[in-house]
Symmetry: C2
Subunit: 430 residues, 2 copies
């Protein structure tokens, strides 16, 4: 589609935290904003693990992108998939169509990385979108059903062993939530198995959990998880994942339920931009977050490699994407007016991770907090963040309500149930 009208057109690819922040900056300005995403909803990814563990429903953490921009006529939303970029020709390619832009923002986020073992994906799903979250939810819930129906102790235990690979915030949160599912929510629901017998294993190759946090919080996290009933294995790399289980160090743990929370990668950026990318596939952007040589094309969020402090790069977390988006929105307006913009600087608010429903760890640039108080701060921080997406207080209250009062209320097995690898027929009663 060629441009019509006089307004500069800004194309934003990806409606995550970064893309939304750009669009927000440009609402009501003298630009035509085109926001393209593969899915029709913005996802509040920090709470995605709660869909996977049946705490929340998808609609409680995802909002139609269109509804966010219902009343902002200069923003158009398109459900579509970008397949290529022509930076020199100032256009994007979506299948066999070409769409021209004056300014481009790539905020396409990150995908799950299996570090070269793509065959593990089918056995050990990652957690990046609603589809994967409901798939994991289905597997977790079916595992207990299959254990209840199992014919012998070995099969039963295989279904009752849950292995989470990766000890970052997502892995810690998943392991804690699965422990609560097994040891608390389901504890009275079965007659032939006791869900409290489930083994929940969290495997991390590094010497400690939550590597981005101070060491004492890592240790506190390990202890808290163990109190919830999680076995934490540190310092042992995962070397194989099969339908039968996981090889961790020298041990093979029988398990039909492996969840991958170990790594992310950025797709397409080298191809699309021709720019230098780091090992994770992130574009090494200029100080104003542009693609080198293309001052009107920007990369933000998880897809951008931005230098920070102590040799680190800006972390792939929601507040960072939001800050970059806000900056690029302003930067585009400045360029239109011919103004300069100071380089982007990242303000790190802190690191948060929750451990089950009543404990969390927080590191606010050295000010550390842990336990129940940290959990409340974690909750408030998320509510504050949610307000940024959906103003209506009603939605917010409903969300808080759901999370606080509805314990594992979304325990639905939906979608096709495939025969499981061990041929234990879930459809066989008794």
């Amino acid at each position: 589609m060629a441009k019509t009208g006089d307004k500069p057109r800004v194309i934003i690819v990806g409606a995550g935290f970064g893309g939304l922040a750009v669009a927000r900056q440009l609402v009501g300005k003298d630009v035509e904003v085109v926001l393209i995403d593969r899915s029709n909803h913005h996802l509040f990814q920090p709470l995605l693990y709660q869909v996977a563990t049946a705490d929340l429903s998808p609609a409680e953490i995802a909002w139609p992108i269109r509804s966010i921009f219902s009343h902002t006529p200069n923003v158009s939303v398109f459900l579509g998939e970008v397949t290529g970029i022509d930076l020199a020709g100032k256009s994007i390619i979506a299948r066999d169509h070409r769409v021209e832009f004056d300014y481009l923002v790539l905020s396409t986020g990150a995908a799950t990385s299996y570090f070269g073992h793509d065959d593990w994906e089918k056995v050990a799903p990652g957690l990046k979108n609603i589809g994967e979250a409901t798939e994991i939810r289905k597997r977790l819930l079916l595992a207990f059903e299959r254990a209840e129906n199992a014919e012998n102790e070995e099969t039963r235990q295989q279904f009752m062993n849950f292995v989470v690979v990766g000890g970052g915030p997502t892995g810690v949160e998943m392991a804690g939530a699965i422990a609560e599912l097994a040891k608390q929510a389901l504890s009275h629901d079965f007659r032939r198995i006791d869900p409290r017998d489930a083994r929940i294993i969290l495997a991390e190759g590094a010497p400690r959990l939550l590597g981005a946090f101070p060491e004492d919080l890592s240790e506190y996290t390990r202890q808290s998880l163990e109190k919830l009933g999680v076995e934490v294995i540190l310092n042992q790399p995962v070397s194989d994942i099969t339908p039968q289980g996981v090889r961790i160090g020298d041990d093979f743990i029988q398990s039909a339920n492996v969840i991958w929370a170990a790594g992310v990668k950025v797709d397409h950026m080298a191809d699309w931009t021709g720019a230098k990318t780091d090992r994770g596939g992130r574009v090494e952007v200029t100080p104003d977050l542009a693609i080198p040589g293309y001052p009107d094309a920007f990369v933000i969020g998880d897809a951008a490699h931005v230098a920070w402090r102590d040799g680190l790069t800006v972390p792939g977390i929601a507040p960072a994407a939001k800050q970059m988006g806000k900056y690029v929105g302003k930067r585009i307006l400045d360029r239109i007016k011919g103004n300069n913009t100071p380089p982007f600087t990242y303000k790190h608010a802190g690191n948060l991770a929750t451990i089950g429903r009543h404990r969390a760890v927080i590191d606010f640039n050295g000010f550390k907090l842990k336990g129940v108080l940290a959990w409340w701060v974690w909750g408030l921080a998320h509510i504050y963040f949610l307000i940024g997406i959906r103003a209506p207080a009603l939605v917010l209250v409903q969300w808080a309500w759901s999370y606080i009062f509805r314990k594992k209320g979304a325990r639905l097995i939906t979608g096709p149930v495939e025969p499981d690898p061990e041929k234990t027929d879930v459809h066989r009663p008794l």
Copy 2:
């Protein structure tokens, strides 16, 4: 599985309204209750159309069956599929397993019937379970996305034409809710189409909508739907459904969105019971709801043909299933004790149907109600019914909250997006 222990074993197949009511009657009694269902959740089917039209999330109308019987040790719940019955041998067959019973209750409900045109199913899904409801939701929402991306007016209109086949309560409710989706919830969300231009057509072969209601309420329903923007076509049979549209009477209406709400049938009963079934596949049961010749095996709910009044049979609605379930629970206890039980009598509370969010029609055995007041009665009746399933008031309040305040909040397109029949690429932006 052979029986162990002395207690009589009652197997209940199907955890709908009827099956749950039987199990409830037997909680804490001196019997072993085995409740088997193909899915892990009890579904509040009267509100299923609200999942299809993005008003409610699946978890708001479905509850894990296990959680309902967490604290009732004499009730076991199994996820499983029954594949046959051996009445003479007093056992059920689930795949290659055989499970013995002393008493059996079949409460397996009804399936969608295409009146011999099973090829229509793929084009025009019915509405019987969560999977079908989210499939319809996806199709409805994608239709608008595809219309927005369409290249010409003809394709656009095809995606903007919605046809609901069948003018019973489900068809009326679907048509009203789709009209509200298009004309209200989505009205500001698109830039190239105006969702208010959508045509919503409700096709009924009989001379009036809601055939079970008094004529003046049928007429009121038609007028109310027309006010919401629904075109009601009466007296015209649907003779063909293809990916391009629907033939209604002599007209062919181009439409990529056809929803089937026209008929139900009962599967398996003739095979399983050997008993006489009616045209709809329902078992003609004895006055105590047993299978003729097998006084310990009962059929209840949609699967049972039970004479009522004026030559009619007891309707396939939730309150009827619940009454039958309660009766059969008592009947089993009476048989164990050697007591007689008076024959089952159906108490008809009334017929309800809602027309969008603010109107309903109610017929309480001749006492008629319509409009806003009827809508509130409809809402209260459903809340009352919900209390019967899940006691906790919190869940109830949350449900009411969701429905009253969260307008079309569950507008999520999830699951794989297949290429559409017209080759309009939904993934192509602009």
